[in-house]
Symmetry: C3
Subunit: 426 residues, 3 copies
């Protein structure tokens, strides 16, 4: 009985056209040009490498895309149990009508050519958007992105601030900041002024969010301009900072970003808990992991200081999910934002989704984002989530709390779409 | 098939009259007088506030109870997915025959008046106890509670000790201690003597437990009277203590409480892992959260030092559930005590209950307590737990380990009631 | 429907003859001689003690085996809900044809005698191996085990190194090292030479792994011979080391072990997260617990430094399971190894198994090991795991991802057997 119920709810959720609230799409080449854009992404290169394929073979400089796919195919057999590979199979069946159960050394070239042909169609990007039921897609833009040459109604800019907070000690970052804002930064107040210019530029181009990824040991504290002025002066004068000083600058920049989010009424996406380059010899973007010894209590001062700023929060370790549920239950300005990266597989999504839906006001749950690099990934990843969501709605609400199917479907649609519109005002 | 099995087991468990081993009931006004006593409780004020209702509107001084409920109703629509709201709906349907699916601005006044009328009946308290199947209810009493004016057979006193351990540095606490014990505390030994008086007073009035809630970083260590004597002398002489000194006094008081629990054979409920006032601008009792970076190994010295004291332990973060299962599996004096606060929603209860029932001797599991402030909350909260327990017994024991239904039901009854009687000897 | 599917997959997995990749079997007396060998094991003594049976009664010196079983039986009634006790009941029904639901004071002596009779049969060891479907069994050998007098094809040696890394400061350990290797250790290079001798001895006797159990705070770092030479010299000269110095020696020995695992191409089993003797007055082997505040990021330097060494990793706290999944997803040399001790009950096995199968290349998953002290434990423990695995394969792969039953069964067999053969090359 419950299987039909799941199916009916799933079909309703699948019919809903979505806004994807967090992606890494390049709006100038949003869809793939060959299967290598998909299989060459870290989802597959890191797994193939982990299963034994040498990094040098995958990332040989100048390798022909088809050759690269061919090499990856040799390792796919070891990955067919992974949900990541099932996304690839969904892409191939949905977009390229590929019906075989697995991609093998005998059928991959036919698949590659079929895909390349379809991807070469001039309206391929629109085809993918349509077939995936995507109406708008949030981007992740460098702070000095001119935001030109694409439709900001479709691809919604979002100010990514990792560089500003963690890499201002790099000469290159400071140059980019100067160029992008035309502010000659040399002290705390001119630094603040420059950051304000970024917000002006982004919001005037339709940006709907500010975002940052944060290491597990980050504890934001208020740092005033006076406290940090001399350090900023020496930084922009080209001096090296010790770790204490660079930490002080990071805190100042982060706090300033939160202040501007208040001024410009932009939600500030916090993606908490990633350690970069843990596996030094890993494939490109296949090096990051995490330390689960972190707590949202590190954000106490931030959440108390900015009641008017909405913080959509993602946590990398699922052991932080309960804290996220509890902090969003209590802090009005903390909103739960999707299932991120290492917590984005059905076992974790299912438990985290159940625990969120039963304890946090339904208007504070952003169900899912694709985190995709290429458009083709939206369909399989949202489908994976919709299947879990339909299952949770059927079991926990229709069966266990005898909600009507209609009422459960409305909850699902609010979490999938409605809350994205209200929280990101788009 | 398994749905009928669940139902049969659930019905058996529902028929069992219970002793509630931990509540915050005021025995002098145990039941509610209006719906505001229920909806004005932090379960709903914190969620309404979290969903957008201003604290000032909820907690306007001198607000009329009906007006308060009316304001809360405006926000209920955003909370209908939460299990907390389903407790309210259960209360309204079970006690006030309220049949609508949700409480809306059009039906709440009729509900309010019906409830007020019923609550005004002189035997309303007995009606609620009877309908909820509650025979005895543990209280949480301040250390200077005279324990007079109520039936200590029905409402079982329990010595709450947070003030003694963490707030002895407050002048007011020391005065209350002097008044309650008639001991002129001025040094370590007179402090110990006063604490002894409290145990004498509580046990002579039928107390069955001592209890305390503890922050995640608390690590109890043995502190002797000699070590702390000079500090206690200066404290009671009115001097200010630094943080090291107040920590020393806390440790001494806590260790002394454990000693007296041994002398008076009282279980010492440890409720581990709460950080107070994390959300400073939160509603009353809607400010506390937690830091999951804690371990039961912090209690190694305590559990080893007091083999004769039973420690019923509750953990706030569900990431500590496995440690609680393992420590209760190994330490004879560690008993598992219910599902607390942020771990008291079906997703966490289900997993924690499964992992406990399959690994810890069944005589060491106190299944559930309501933690209620008003009697009306017992029925919906115990019902939520009974539903989970029935489900776990049906799946893990009857189906997976082909236990007879009768044997599974007996396990359920032991965990729900039998163990409360033996562990708290009541 | 899914119950029949579960059953079919379970039966296929049960028919598979296995290699047990980690046990504590003594090859000179692998099977039990009386029921006391089984019920006298810490699984049952710690639970009986935890439920109230005095340690002195269980571990009375010189107690007659039958008397000991009789005493334990008095407490079994309190443990019948535990999965550990269901292993005992499986052993009694499978091997001794015991059909009663529970072991009671009226039926235990008949059981004891039946068992003793069967165990006395000269081929009892082969009977158990055959009935359990075990073809080869990994051992845990002290570093100075001569590895003589047993068939190393059946019982595969494994170099256990806890003593070398954590107890070299004990005189006795240093004497054993000298005797076993005939190397007169007195400095860093002779210490390294001696460790090399151990690898030579073990691999020439068919050893297939090196193994160690590690406390939650262990963070391996590279220590060179020069850095540690003077400390090793003073250690072997009989001087006492302070904690810093003994930590340095531990790190040097551990790093040297990893180096030799590279040279001899031996997988290095890391069993991470146990704190020894937490419950000081516990029964033998019933004293160890853990602190969940640990992270695999502590092994970053190790995993990066030894790309050619395979690290089969077990974690004691299930809150580290997600890190293990993610680190094995990313690091080619990190392999997931079974369900260990406090995480070895169905609730944890089920969630951990689901999260592993859907995210890590299938060739990197060692499904289960029995960790047994006596051969009779393999059947019930592997059966518990096979039941969980069959359930996960049926639900997550056949139903949710419409895999064929055959394909799901093959995944199960790879995880149960195939990967043990390839990863441990046996
Ligand atoms: Zn992202
Ligand atoms: Zn309480
Ligand atoms: Zn072991």
């Amino acid at each position: 009985m419950s299987e039909q119920l799941n199916k009916r709810i799933f079909d309703e959720l699948e019919s809903l056209v979505l806004i994807d609230p967090h992606t890494h799409i390049n709006p100038h080449s949003a869809a793939s040009t060959t299967l290598a854009d998909i299989m060459g992404y870290h989802y597959y290169t890191e797994l193939a490498h982990s299963a034994g394929l040498a990094k040098e073979s995958i990332e040989e400089p100048g390798i022909d895309p088809k050759e690269k796919v061919g090499r990856l195919v040799t390792q796919l057999g070891d990955l067919d149990n992974t949900i990541q590979l099932s996304w690839l199979m969904d892409i191939c069946s949905e977009f390229f009508d590929f019906q075989d159960e697995t991609i093998t050394e005998s059928n991959w070239e036919y698949l590659y050519d079929t895909a390349a042909e379809k991807m070469a169609q001039p309206d391929w990007e629109q085809q993918v958007l349509k077939q995936s039921g995507l109406e708008r897609v949030f981007l992740t833009n460098d702070f000095d992105d001119p935001l030109e040459g694409f439709d900001t109604k479709l691809y919604i800019p979002c100010l990514r601030t990792d560089d500003l907070v963690f890499h201002l000690t790099k000469n290159e970052t400071r140059e980019r900041l100067g160029k992008a804002t035309q502010v000659d930064v040399g002290c705390a107040s001119t630094l603040r002024e420059a950051i304000g210019e970024l917000f002006e530029h982004f919001t005037s181009n339709g940006a709907r969010a500010c975002a940052i990824s944060l290491p597990p040991d980050f504890s934001p504290v208020s740092v005033t301009a006076d406290q940090v002025d001399s350090t900023v002066r020496s930084l922009f004068a080209g001096d090296d900072l010790n770790s204490e000083e660079s930490k002080l600058v990071s805190q100042f920049v982060f706090w300033t970003l939160a202040e501007y989010c208040g001024v410009y009424r932009l939600p500030f996406d916090l993606m908490i808990g990633v350690n970069r380059r843990v596996y030094e010899a890993g494939v490109y973007q296949g090096q990051d992991l995490y330390d689960k010894r972190t707590s949202l209590i590190q954000y106490k001062e931030l959440f108390n200081a900015f009641p008017k700023v909405t913080f959509p929060v993602s946590v990398l370790t699922s052991t932080s999910n309960q804290e996220l549920v509890s902090y969003s239950w209590i802090f009005p300005n903390v909103v739960i934002n999707g299932h991120w990266w290492y917590s984005n597989t059905p076992a974790f999504i299912t438990f985290d989704c159940k625990s969120r839906l039963e304890a946090v006001p339904k208007t504070k749950l952003i169900g899912y984002y694709s985190d995709m690099y290429k458009l083709e990934f939206a369909l399989p990843k949202f489908r994976m989530y919709r299947r879990v969501l339909a299952n949770v709605l059927a079991t926990d609400f229709v069966i266990n709390r005898n909600w009507s199917e209609q009422r459960a479907i409305e909850l699902g649609k609010l979490v999938l779409r409605g809350n994205v519109e209200t929280i990101f005002s788009c």
